[in-house]
Symmetry: D3
Subunit: 326 residues, 6 copies
């Protein structure tokens, strides 16, 4: 059911391969979504899964003990990689639908799907696939862009529209949709009105700078868990400033630092019942020295580490010295 | 009917804009096909039209007097640019069909469509659109690849299959399909058998090196004009060695030099009744210092210059000194 | 009077073209200053205007509604683009003088000139042209470098000297010259003495880090508006750290983040009577994935948006949620 | 015994993995030599094996039917990939000695070792390992450089010296050492004298241009097979012009075209009893768009295809049309 | 005793050359360590010394007056450049031992050795060489990685192990080893246990973010000077976020900003008795627009400036305006 | 009188420095012309001298024994490097005039000036300076462009005009001006008429391909030496195809190969009384992996080697095996 679309058949940092048609007991299953057919500008995210799977200078040995969190996200959790979903760029509808089946298969098995994009079109099947396996799912969405567009290039499906489709379809309640890091000059008033009408809560960078990211996150977390039993975490790498994440399709200056994103993802996965995750918009052709692919890889590791730490149950103090308690 | 899909609304080196819905008397009309939805590997050709239109260090003034051919291809012919056809990457069938309408509109008006790709998927609508406006069209096809694949990623349409679709549909007779520059490791025996059965004539690089490109071209030209009143010229920039044309999606070492390609395109347009033309697979994200975009631009100029010279009617001698006769 | 020096004739994100010799009623007029003839090190800023005009993934449609400021800087203001001033790199004096005429023409018409550089040599004509149309102009200058050099390579004119020339000529009072972001190892003591003697106020990064950028800006704004009716805002992109703005000629590590610059430019234009603006030292040959060009483009948009907001008159609160009040 | 030193554990284009300690019946065994510890200038060839193994736009399926030669070098031969030999860059002697053991193991098993470099230091163990398994081995060596240096940086081992060590050790007779493509400004007279004394035959580019590459090759082949039962083919990618192979450590302008190299490698393997092969000096950090990695990959495929064709036994005519006889 | 290993024979920004065998009275002596033979992943640091010596847009005149510190680190101190130590990449032990001799020679003469790396393997000889000339040396170590590995690729020496070797050999007490900026997924528990047992104090980024860098530094400084008369400062450029320092071998997202590093290095050299310094892991092949080389250059200048200021003795206030007191 | 304008003060591959005001007995003197103030498109050639001086993987030791020609161009001739002429980009007239003085000083001393450009504007002072020291100078000019423009950007001086200025001033007779490699779409008819009227002989690529480069060169050499006692050789690197020389300002596809240029330069210097030489239009910001800088460096070496061989007087046979006669 899955294949290696563009190049050799790798697993994420060497974790075990699994077969979607016969899933093992797993805590998390990685899926590649090598798709850039929904991109409105620079393509290249089809190579995102391959790049994020291997962007590391350490051995690809399926183990990554986190210095900060004192867990091994790839070993303390049962993490498998199910390979890439076949997603032909020229047929967005068929591709998204294949992905949704795969994500739902994982979620229905009780594992957390971790989807490596691909452009942000994939959030539609990612969140839908997860929401079908849970009572009520909220979304925490890091991005420079709201991705709530109506129709683009004559299509309902594309990387500027998935969040609208999700709310329209009822997969997610608009007032449980939290957006962090928006900025720039899109969308315009009518789409913003639509967003307001559906009760979305979007944190633009001005608010984040003025109030502090941590305060905004705490507020958003309270909303996300109000009446929802599961949270989907969608991370568009362009939430980070283009200087620190150049390998992406629609760069918008003035974003978070990489440090801020990693800390925020950590908090999400330590504090929220994350049931699904995607990391999108890493575009290797525009990257330099793999720095954006590394960042995408580290976002996945940070999330898995924090999920493992959350499951272990003991509190975590960022002020504790690294070597304390050894 | 046409738009500027990715960036500012430019015309090819500053030639006049025209409107597809109301075509002027034209000798040649440039169309952008900013599409990479059919690519099997590296994307990026969506930016090919924008790159090829402006890759020049001279003023964008709609004039290019050829030193070699002593004509101005942009002024001695009536050349217009109709802009880009909207081609959403995520919907290959709709996109190709929009392009076919545009190409046919141009061809039916009596002008030569000059299509700037885009990936090679577009050859299907390009040649079909032209063939519908002529009695019998043959194809001269420069490429490292035969592009005669059956189904890829579950789709009949993609950049590895257009030539098969053209022959299957009857748009072109297989035995009037001439391929120059093939090499490498694709396709395999069954597709080659299909090609042989349909009478295609494909010149692999070994034959070209052994016999000389000029001899192969002369032979091919004789076939192309045997019973056909029009020739479509399809130039995939990857026919050139990747060292001289790195900005492309499926590079295959061992190709022609840029000089050879320019001379071959010149001969085609001097000696054949060229009724349509596309230049494809220029992928700016993989280019360096715009050298592949420049090459694509010069292929277009070489073709237009030679068409202008052919129409002027007097013979051309490459051995004549540049300043002779002034 | 203006031309497209290097490539196609674009306007800034598709705003309307205007003619310098026959200016329309405008709030702001964009001018390209494609000049790197005054550069002491890496050239390339001649391509800055072309790059900044089109660095965007959104349609080039002359509209940019700011999420943060809730205005459309390109539509709520009457913004036109007058094209490029012809500035031959090999003749700095003639070039600067042509630019001064153009800037003065705009300023005298009552519009704000927005000059896209080019190297920082152009600040001399930019500020001079504006100052001739106002009673008394102060300068707020973001830069890693003081640009107050005496003579370089035997010339009074170059990108390291404009601020000195401006004070010497009397175009600006030294004690109304505010510099933000200086750092590094230039200039030496004698030039610093000259700066002190003329009452300049320069905020080096150590002071900015120790006191906070916002406190420094507030102090500077008070000086800038003390007895001056107009402020010229000159933004050298190298004020930002080279990691976030690599495409520049004289990179100096340890600068502002892109976020800080955008917020600072916003404050300037919200709080000060900005009468002219230039964005300089964007050098595309040294850029990667256009991130520096994007930053330059966003500095212009941020400024125009804030000017529009200032003119609307109602107060702005950065803590207001994006969708509040809709 | 072998590992994946730098990144995921891939096989060459997906051929089967094998274990050096328990070799299967094989015709050719690929070995990675990820070593740049012997480089005198630019490093990076440690990433050569990983890059050459996967540089292809086709599926990594262990099959590559050659259009030109009408064989599938990866399937008509039994080709396996034994992975990378561990070669710590900081210890050249230990590294080379590990490689020699591995190469000899393969050669002694009756298979052809195909070694992916790595810098040219590895030719010493490569040829030595092969020579120990054969009666008498000659070497055909494509390179811009003679690699016959004495001592460099205080070491006998490095990428400028392997050919001298091979002749000194008696692994190869100097008068059965054929060098093709030398040029430039190294070595100086004393080393050339040493080469002459040992009867080496080196074809500098001037001779190749004047006489033609094919004539030179025919002459070299006659020497190589005079009293030798086996030939080692060593291909330094810098024999090709840097324009077509920029990703290398010591580029020397004025080389062969990629086409010439591929045709020459084909002739070697069609006409000579090749018993071992290495492809060296592909340095990914200096490559662009993978073009040099692609070239290295194609050199390996060309060699394997031609070996398969030679074993099939029927004559090959480059002038035969691609589709003839189907 | 020293040479120019890779390219022309430059001195650091034009300071005077000196001869290691006959050292002048110097305050600081620069040594190049062009070595990447100990690198576990991307090489290229062999070109670090050449790149850091000349990365500047100002004249290479041996003078750099610091705006912030009001001293000229290259003139107020007697700074010389002794050139590169010959360090053959293929022989790590011999190379490190040559470097140790050179560093000790400088330290024993009473000057501060300033070593330009090179990969971090060189910290072993750098600190050892300095420790042999002082009573008791502590180490302040900026890095993303602890570099306390046991054996890698079969070798005790490499860029992941120097800190362990230093503590094992007794050159430095483990409880006077301060590490700033660690993060990511290496090393694992057993090495961390070893570090704890030896009393190392390592500040991971979570602690730095939570407590603030300045508080952590103050605490570390107190430890470093407790019973030690000298401090060695080792700066691995990968402590900075890869977005701001891409030109390095083992990038780990989430690091310091360049501004933070410069300020921290300044504080070290203002407040501590720095007796030796190295700046390592600048890898030009992976750099873009020289930004990482510039950063390395500025770290050296910041250190020398602060040492000069410390020696001058008067207090320094970062809040003082640049032009105050002139 | 000369300086190091952009970076460290290097000599060409380590040859001896000399002082223009006090020239030694020299056969050839290298001068840097770091000037791009006359460029009509991409700048960057100001860094050409620095790049060409050091582009080599061999030691910078002032010795380069040519394999092909069996001389050491840097030792058999007395070659010195006089450094860079100060050429402020913003003042083309002053800059060109400084260069002319320097070139004339060298030529008048009896040495051959070897000028490293810089854009092609410098040919005007280069040839003028040489012509003033000789009876009658002809020019052999390798270039894609005729460089015979009238006025550009309002200036008589720029890189598109030097050849016209030289003929107008009488420095060179039009009918002793030989151009090799022209192609593309510039200049137009009126300039071509002017060229014809002045008797220039320009070999466009079509003629070169049809007749062969060697035949064209032989014909050109006969003209060049007809009544002239000295030849100036001007090599614009853009005569080579952009694929092999991307680092240049005005790339024109379809050029010579690097091999052809090196062989042609060799013939010029073996067969003609070359009295001056420039190598221009190498633009490092657009280069990749220094391949264009290497090519420029090798053009200089090829020329100096051939001049040395010509002076030695014995005939040279390209067919002689490398090791023959040792």
């Amino acid at each position: 059911m899955t294949i290696a679309m563009y190049g050799p058949d790798l697993t994420f940092l060497g974790v075990r391969r699994c077969d979607l048609d016969n899933l093992p007991d797993a805590d998390a299953v990685i899926l590649g979504a090598p798709f850039d057919g929904g991109t409105s500008h620079r393509p290249g995210t089809r190579f995102g899964p391959m790049a994020m799977r291997q962007a590391c200078y350490l051995p690809q040995d399926g183990s990554r003990p986190s210095l900060a969190l004192r867990v091994d996200g790839l070993r303390d959790l049962r993490v498998f990689d199910a390979g890439d979903v076949e997603m032909f760029g020229g047929d967005v509808e068929r591709s998204l639908s294949s992905l949704e089946r795969a994500v739902h298969t994982v979620a229905a098995s009780g594992a957390i799907p971790v989807v490596l994009g691909g452009d942000h079109s994939i959030a539609l099947p990612d969140v839908t696939g997860v929401s079908r396996a849970h009572e009520s799912v909220s979304v925490v969405h890091f991005d420079a862009h709201a991705d709530t567009g109506e129709i683009e290039f004559g299509s309902l499906y594309g990387h500027g529209q998935p969040m609208r489709r999700l709310i329209e379809s009822g997969a997610v309640r608009g007032d449980r949709f939290l957006q962090i890091g928006l900025r720039g000059y899109w969308p315009g008033p009518s789409i913003l009105d639509w967003m307001a009408q559906h009760g979305m809560r979007s944190y633009e960078m001005s608010e984040i700078v003025a109030r502090g990211l941590d305060e905004c996150l705490s507020e958003a977390f309270a909303i996300a868990t109000d009446g929802c039993d599961a949270v989907f975490l969608s991370v568009d790498v362009d939430v980070v400033d283009p200087g620190m994440a150049p390998g992406t399709g629609t760069p918008e200056p003035g974003g978070l630092t990489a440090r801020q994103l990693l800390d925020a993802v950590r908090r999400c996965c330590l504090e929220l019942p994350v049931a699904g995750l995607d990391v999108v918009e890493v575009s290797p052709p525009y990257d330099h020295a793999e720095i954006t692919a590394y960042l995408g890889n580290r976002v996945v590791l940070e999330a898995l580490s924090a999920i493992a730490r959350r499951r272990r149950g003991d509190p975590w103090d960022p002020r504790q010295p690294l070597l304390a308690g050894r």
